[in-house]
Assembly symmetry: C2
Homo-oligomer: 112 residues x 2
DNA sequence: CCGTATCCAGAGTGATACTG
DNA sequence: CAGTATCACTCTGGATACGG
């Protein structure tokens, strides 16, 4: 699926950047506005600091999120979507709309 | 992220059903119309029979795809989207639209 | 508060070879 | 043609403990 010159379609490009189950969930939270590390961690029930750090760094490297650290004590770090990240809103909304129309039983059968 | 009574938002529900990098790509191919196993495998460059079988079975179990086997020699099996699967079109289109707007350099830096 | 370091488990996937 | 079986690898992600 990878290892080709340049991904043909936009769908594949989306998938490369939004890799893993947490990626989309993190973006969703940030669509409501900038958040601090701990706020993000609290909202994303079940995510580990390890994973959150990893995903946030990847997003930052890919230009979807900006990281702003304030030299205070205690430190304060705020994550915010870039324009590129903001543009994911349409995709997330389409996902959400579809997901809400899915019968509950289907979700139940798959690990949750 | 999982192990809660019932997923709160539609986004999470989408992610549960569309798990793994190939899931979305398979659906995208089927949006163009029904396809046979081998046709699907050829269009999805790099996918193994193993993986394709797995994903297809999962889709079938979740009611996103129907599987029709014709008792012929050689056998012919056709996969087709259900209405639920068809409804993913909007989501895929949003993804594609976003992905096409992503600068090439970002894609290059991540394994491809 | 905001991470990082390390170790480890599990899922998804690929390669290969084989079957009805 | 349409899978299945087996093995092994990679990568995400959790747990825990520690550092700035």
């Amino acid at each position: 699926m990878n290892n080709r010159e340049t991904p043909c379609c936009g769908v594949a490009r989306f998938l490369i950047l939004m890799d893993g189950p947490w990626a989309t969930l993190i973006i969703r939270e940030l669509l409501h506005g900038p958040l601090r590390f701990t706020e993000l961690k609290n909202k994303l029930d079940g995510i580990s600091a390890h994973t959150l750090t990893h995903r946030l760094k990847q997003f930052e490297a890919n230009g979807l999120v900006t990281r702003t650290a304030y030299a205070e004590t205690p430190p304060r770090v705020v994550y915010e979507l870039t324009t590129l990240g903001e543009n994911l809103r349409d995709v997330l909304e389409a996902m959400g709309k579809w997901g809400e129309a899915v019968p509950d039983q289907l979700i139940q059968r798959n690990k949750l």
